[in-house]
Subunit: 138 residues, 2 copies
């Protein structure tokens, strides 16, 4: 049983064959697939899965905090298993590859910045866009 599936069970979600497969795909994913990619991988395991079901399922999973939805600005949502710890993303603009990182100082400053503006911080999005250091020597 995949980690995502276990989380679903803990949340009391009805686990259908399709949901199990989608959960597995997301648990196995090392990247941040979009709905279409999740569907394609799911179909490799079990062809009885439609894109509509993927969309409905990821929404339910997201609402149950079993996975996280990201928007990297390319017009489609991407998904990843809810990690135990929060992290942000650095996107290598040469390859499109996404690297996860966490920085406590930045997190703290964000909270502070929001407070100074009169807000209680309930969420944030931080994405860094970079090029590999070797390549950037100009």
């Amino acid at each position: 049983m995949s980690r995502v599936e276990r989380l679903c069970v803990e949340k009391g979600l009805k686990m259908t064959g399709q949901r199990r497969v989608i959960a597995r795909v997301l648990s196995d994913a090392k990247d941040h697939p979009d709905a279409n990619e999740v569907c394609r991988r799911a179909i490799l395991i079990d062809p009885h899965i439609s894109l509509a079901t993927v969309y409905r399922t990821v929404r339910v999973f997201e609402q149950n905090e079993v996975l996280e939805r990201h928007d990297f600005g390319d017009g489609r949502a991407r998904y990843e298993e809810s990690g135990s710890q929060h992290h942000d993303h650095l996107i290598n603009i040469e390859t499109g590859r996404v690297i996860e990182f966490h920085n406590d100082q930045i997190e703290a400053l964000q909270k502070l910045a929001a407070k100074e503006l009169g807000f209680h911080l309930v969420g944030h999005r931080l994405e860094l866009y970079g090029i590999p250091l070797e390549t950037s020597e100009d």
Copy 2:
């Protein structure tokens, strides 16, 4: 002549009536309108403007760094005049209103974080989502 129009002229862009109006709308905007909203405001000044032209125009303007495109996660692009200084956004999730802010410390830490991961930072996106402090007392 609006500020955006002047920037366009400096870039050598051909200034048609429509582009002038769109430039004006964006110069006058105190918020971050989407393409549809830009079009509606433009039509108030001159009805001879179509949504397709707005899309084509904002793309040209963006490519010429005359305005900036933002994606606040609600599925449509939003635009604002390219300011002299960089800033990030705090979104009031109760009203949807966007507040601009700038924080040098966070900027510096971002650069550092990227460097530690082996990247040269060429861009970033930071959005804070918050609720007004008065309302958040629970």
